[in-house]
Amino acid sequence: MERSFKKEVQALTLGDGETFRGEGILAVTKALLQSGVSYVGGYQGAPVSHLLDVMVEAEDLLADLGVHVETCTNEASAAAMLGASINYPLRGAVTWKSIVGTNVAADALSNLASPGVVGGALIVLGEDYGEGASVIQERSYAYAMKSSMWLLDPRPDLPTIVRCVEKGFELSEASHAPVMLELRIRACHVTGEFEAKNNRRGAYSGLNRLEGPPRFDYGRLAHPPVTFIHERLKVEDRMPAARRFTREHKLNEIVPGDVDDIGIVVMGGLTNSVLRALARLDLADMFGKTRIPILVLNVVYPLVPEEVREFCAGKRAVLVVEEGHPEYIEEAINSDLRRADIQTRVIGKDVLPKAGEYTSDVLLKGLSAFLSQTRPARLDVEAIADRAGKMLAHLPAAQASVGTLPPRPPTFCTGCPERPVFAAIKLMQRDLGPTHISADIGCHAFATLAPFSLGNSILGYGMSLASAAAVGPNMSRRPIAVMGDGGFWHNGLITGVASNLFNKGDGVLIVMQNGYTSATGLQFMPSSKASRSGPAPGMDIESTLRSFGVTWMRKVRTYSVARMVKTLKAAMQDPARGLKVIVADGECQLARQRRVRADDARKLAGGQRVVRTKYGVDDEICTGDHSCIRLSGCPSLTVKPNPDPLRSDPVASVIESCVGCGLCGEVAHAAVLCPSFYRAELIRNATAWDLWLHRLRSGVIGWFSGRKQEAAA
């Protein structure tokens, strides 16, 4: 894994009354242990990777509590784990990145939600939404509604998050439904503290096993005819039970205020943002005391009609602060108030944007517009609008003073083994012409950005080959599908490869074999060289593909750009129909560097010979065209001011962060660029032979260069 969680694991052992300090997602992890879970699973992905990463490192603690942990191969298998709670009083939690993970898990979730659960089932969703998100922008809310699962969106402070986890299990058990808990990116990474409790062992677990299955009960199956009964149970039993529990345990909060002819209904996760916007408008203080009453929905689904009606009754208008599209909550409140014949006006997406993150400026504008529309008697609405306007007034001038800045999206790391593959694709296309490239999820998706700009579609994790199925037959050139080994095991093997072979498909598939799911933080996967328990899991991409019936397969070391270009051309031009697979082999450089650096440091200290390799560009020979940068895109290959007093264009330069992967030299060769690249090797703790050779060479070369200077003089 990318980072070590030793300290975080320590925090998981805290007991009653001790103070836990740390990130939101780790607070959730601690809360799971305090709730007595028997099993935990999930699929890694920002922003919830740390939950599983920490669990994996906390093996001893978990063994002590009897908690079973699985790092699943995809979200569907994680969701299916919750099946253990259908029949048994086992508390379990799974986690993944939403919306994408929830999409993958949807089939299992539907079949879980239909029979319902007896053991508390909690799904921790990392909402990859807004600034910093890497996936399509959709809401998980629809899943809660369609499957009758409950959705918690806690106020983003650690005590509330922890309480929602604990109460989430109780809610699940009280209403026999799975519960989802969504945390936005910032809430996962927010730091804070809460008072810890002792960890609890589950009633049944690895330490206290169940004796056997219960009496056969057809009602526990998601199979007709009981599915028709389940459908009714959901609305007639489970939802009322959930609402009762929510109300009795005060999961939602009401913050009173003196300007009570209006009010605000807010999703729990946005509470701090709304309170801060109110504070900036002088309508709240820094301790959460507000002049406008607020209903905080820590449970966003289902709504509790009585609660909403009580809050709205007597108010002229309420503002619903609901992020994302569509506005499910606003519509639900609207129709419920009409049903109850309460005449409170519901304002929401008419003053707030229909789409996009509710950042501080959005809320300032929205709140000020809400007040201007409702004009509460006790407030100087003009002054407030003026105040909000002034806070944002500087923006146009500030933007103009800077101008249009070049973007800086994430990119392949220095020395990444995947980058050379795209340099090779670019070079191949120079000769054979452009072809359709279906991209995939993973680090390799960075190839869609400059300088490569390669990729015509991204259809989901492991979906690249499948998404080219109907392109190939309709195009004169073979399409290329790019897939990571993470995507291969997540989904691509069955959805892509098996389907292609089954349909006697054509096309080129490049599998990036870097040994980890790197984009999510270097987790192990089935074909990794090691596993969390030590030895390799033993699954191998090549032999798997062979057993599936792939006949055209080449494994190419990714840094060998020339060979990769040749192999790509062969795959593109092979007259025989059929799937051509290129396994692009190269270990994730982040993982490799971590190992190599430690090794080198140890060797250096021990007096052993160490070679440090760094590439360089002769700035006298470089003419500043930057072809090399357009083909490589390495962060350590950059530009610097031209040292030539007669030239102005900056020249290429390799900076200190170079790890010596050799791509720039390979590209200079493969693309016949220019003679300015060199590789420098510094030998530390040189041997006697090294030193003898060095002296001999320096002597001879010195003699020649001396003679040369004399001749020139």
Binding site: D157, P410, E681
Partner: protein
């Protein structure tokens, strides 16, 4: 609810991999150890892979003990116009923070490194795509309340520390946080990782923050000027006596360069070629500007990058000194250097006599060998045999004037100079624009070919039209400048084609209107 106590808000802009997360933890831990309510948020995701990202911190300046039961509600997102301290590890990112509205003159102290880590779009431009640093400095000054601007990257390098430690030092020294310097140091120590380097970096940042640093100081220009060659002395004397002041330094540099490149006679040829340009400059009352620009480009063009020049550069002892210094190699640590070369038929023909070279190229072109036959070589120039290969190539210098490349280059230079001299009577600015087009011709192999053909396209379709009077001078000046920019937009040449087509349409429209 007025006059309330508010948290100190700190927004940190950094690039993935710079340790922004560690920096944030140091600050939070220092605050927490002193008993202040403090909260941080971040949006790491995949932005950790060298992309731009931010970390947001709020510290409530009253301790939990002072607050009693009260619990401040801290925000997770930074507010526009609500930031007390804006920290940026890189200057373009400071600019991004300004453009996002997080730096305001009524409140914000801007702590930023003036160093640049160029973005992909800036680096991949075919010419100079770097963002204007002066514009960023102006924006920093006009938008912030106070500023601590210095080169944190080099401060870190000097101290042997990561940039995040330097940033922490600057934050500690700025005086805006309710945290004393010792508490920050304690946070570094408590963290226990790379404590000594981090403390060194911290102190470097602290010192810089306490000094009133001048970000606009004029440093050395970073240019590597050539030392005078004994043979070029008389020529330099001539330049000092005759050439207008503004052109002198460039011409002297040119003479030294060409003496090294070939010999004093070749440098003399340079001055002879400049003589009519000098006259034209005087006639057009250009004040030496035309002469200076032509002298600059001419010197570059005349010292073209053939195999001999590359070999010369590769075995220049000064180069080895630079490489060993860059690697921080100690005297007893051997350094090997391996050169990547891939000469083809065209490179070989450069040094053959013109007639032979032309014959080989004709045959090779017919058989389609030109793009296919290349010999990839990795030559260790620090080994004896490798060194000797370059040494022998460099020894071909006296042969150069008889080589094919030399002939080709001289012809191209003469034709370019003729264009300049023909344009000068129309307008010195037009002549300078034509001279400036020499920038397009650079590089090796296909890059050089592409540049040359771009130049020829601009010559045929714009420059000729201007000299013949088919295009008014003002329009021609604009047209050449935009064609040149367009030629440097994309390597596929789509920008240039579009630009020239637009111009053609415009010209035919004008003709029709007449």
């Amino acid at each position: 609810m007025s006059a309330m106590q508010r948290p100190v808000t700190v927004l940190i802009a950094a690039l993935g991999g710079e340790g922004g997360g560690v920096l944030t933890n140091w600050i939070i831990n220092a605050a927490a150890d002193l008993g202040f309510p403090a909260q941080s948020t971040s949006i790491p995701g995949v932005a950790q892979r060298t992309g731009a990202t931010t970390y947001y911190i709020e510290i409530f300046p009253k301790t939990w003990r002072e607050l009693g039961d009260a619990r401040p509600v801290l925000a997770l997102t930074p507010g526009i116009g609500d930031i007390d301290v804006m920290v940026a590890s890189e200057f373009l990112e400071a600019g991004r923070a300004i453009a996002s509205g997080f730096v305001t003159p009524d409140r914000t102290l801007l702590i930023a490194s003036t160093s640049r880590f160029y973005s992909m779009n800036e680096k991949m431009a075919m010419g100079d795509g770097r963002y204007d640093q002066t514009r960023l400095l102006d924006a920093a000054e006009s938008n912030s309340q106070g500023r601590i601007l210095f080169d944190m990257e080099s401060a870190g390098k000097t101290a042997g520390a990561m940039i995040n430690a330097v940033m922490l030092g600057a934050i500690a020294g700025c005086g805006k946080l309710p945290i004393p310097v010792e508490a920050f140091e304690a946070a570094i120590r408590k963290d226990g990782k790379a404590v000594e380097p981090n403390l060194r970096g911290f102190r470097a940042g602290l010192d810089a923050a306490r000094e009133t640093s001048a970000a606009r100081g004029v440093g050395p220009d970073g240019k590597r000027h050539l030392a005078p060659e004994p043979q070029s002395d008389p020529l330099e004397g001539e330049i000092r006596a005759q050439a207008p002041q503004p052109a002198q330094d460039v011409m002297i540099e040119g003479v030294r360069r060409l003496t090294r490149f070939q010999n004093a006679d070749y440098a003399r040829l340079y001055l002879n070629r400049l003589a009519p340009v000098h006259t034209a400059d005087q006639r057009a009352a250009s004040g030496g500007k035309l002469l200076r620009e032509v002298a600059r480009h001419l010197a570059v063009r005349m010292s073209f990058e053939d195999l001999i020049r590359v070999a010369q550069a590769k075995i220049d002892p000064a180069r080895m000194t630079r490489i060993t210094a860059e690697l921080n190699a100690k005297p007893d640590e051997p350094v090997h250097v391996v050169e990547f070369l891939k000469p083809g038929i065209e490179e070989l023909c450069q040094i053959l006599p013109p007639s032979l070279a032309r014959w080989i190229l004709r045959v090779s072109a017919r058989r389609g060998w030109l793009d296919r036959v290349h010999v990839g070589m990795e030559v260790k120039s620090t080994s004896i045999s490798g060194y000797l290969r370059f040494w022998l190539l460099a020894k071909l210098k006296p042969w150069r004037p008889r080589s094919f490349r030399y002939h080709e280059e001289q012809a191209a230079i003469e034709s370019w100079l003729t264009l300049i001299l023909e344009a000068a009577p129309h307008s010195p600015t037009l002549a300078i624009e034509i001279a400036e087009c020499a920038r397009l011709i650079k590089g090796y192999g296909s890059t050089h070919k592409r540049g040359t053909s771009n130049f020829q396209m601009i010559e045929a379709r714009v420059i000729r039209a201007a000299i013949n009077g088919r295009l008014p001078v003002d329009q021609a000046i604009d047209a050449i400048a935009s064609a040149r920019t367009a030629a440097l937009v994309d390597p596929e040449g789509e920008g240039l084609t579009r630009c020239l087509d637009d111009l053609d349409r415009h010209m035919s429209f004008r003709v029709a209107a007449e």
